[in-house]
């Protein structure tokens, strides 16, 4: 049986939409099932992997940094790369280079690479299917 390769196109920036956590869950589930996954992060989604994100305390919740245990999407990206390594699958995450330049978010976590729509087209041609998760 040929290997299943899925491509996801993400658009939403971090901390704005439930679509983001849903996208991460889809990638997580695909990797756990042994599928290879490509992610093309476009526009605001390039900030998902921005390495300088940091968790914070939350005065409203009355919790310090450790107690709040606030998630960062960049850490989720790291987790997905580690999961792919554990599952012996391939995760290829490309950030749209022009989009990172516009936002000054070119410091991505390890494993994320800079690319262009040409990479997206390569992903599509090599994939079993492609899912676009648009912003609104």
């Amino acid at each position: 049986m040929p290997r299943i390769v899925l491509t996801l196109v993400l658009n939403d920036p971090p901390y704005e939409s439930a679509r983001t956590s849903t996208a991460f869950r889809i990638v997580d589930a695909a990797i756990r099932r042994g599928h290879d996954v490509n992610v093309f992060a476009y526009e605001g989604a390039v900030s998902l992997a921005f390495a300088r994100q940091s968790p914070h305390a939350n005065a409203v919740h009355g919790r310090d940094v450790d107690g709040e245990d606030h998630p960062t999407t960049s850490n989720w990206v790291r987790e997905l790369f580690e999961l792919a390594r554990e599952q012996s699958t391939k995760l290829d995450w490309v950030n749209c280079g022009l989009c990172t330049d516009e936002r000054g978010t070119d410091e991505a976590v390890l494993g994320v690479r800079r690319g262009s729509p040409a990479d997206l087209w390569s992903f599509v041609n090599a994939s079993t299917n492609t899912l676009v998760i648009p912003t609104r």
């Binding site: 971090p14 901390y15 704005e16 939409s17 439930a18 983001t20 956590s21 991460f24 869950r25 997580d28 939350n58 005065a59 409203v60 919740h61 919790r63 107690g67 709040e68 245990d69 606030h70 998630p71 999407t73 850490n75 989720w76 790291r78 987790e79 997905l80 580690e82 999961l83």
Partner: protein, 128 residues
């Protein structure tokens, strides 16, 4: 009229797993903690925030497990404990099949036809 404020929250579950809270409820808490006289009107999908049985734990990405999942009903209840009044649009509860015995006690129910009278009580009305 004092600077009474009404936060109208229309979009539910916006990044709540990432933020471990709702951004507007969080801001309302923070404004209240800083002395604002602020109330909340939940409408559209946000009426679901007062359903007691909601539960959002279990998010897992790789080996990361969420230890502090959002608890929106708790946050709404905590606002009421700070003397914020919380209203829900009765029409939006009804169309979603949410019964009143399923929701937090203390929430005020308003019909669409009653909104003009409610809104007249506020100097600031922010719709999110």
């Amino acid at each position: 009229m004092p600077h009474r404020m009404l936060q109208i929250l229309t979009t539910a579950y916006r990044a709540t797993l990432e933020e471990q809270d709702d951004p507007v409820l969080w801001l309302t808490h923070s404004l209240r903690n800083n002395g604002a006289d602020v109330d909340v009107l939940l409408r559209s999908s946000a009426v679901n925030y007062i359903v007691r049985s909601q539960q959002a734990s279990g998010l897992r990405i790789g080996d990361w497990l969420q230890s502090q999942p959002p608890d929106l009903a708790f946050e709404v209840g905590a606002l009421m404990s700070k003397d914020c009044r919380v209203f829900a649009l009765a029409d939006d509860l009804a169309v979603r099949g949410i019964r009143r015995d399923e929701v937090l006690p203390g929430v005020g129910f308003v019909a669409k036809a009653e909104l003009p009278a409610l809104l007249r009580n506020y100097k600031h009305i922010w719709q999110w």
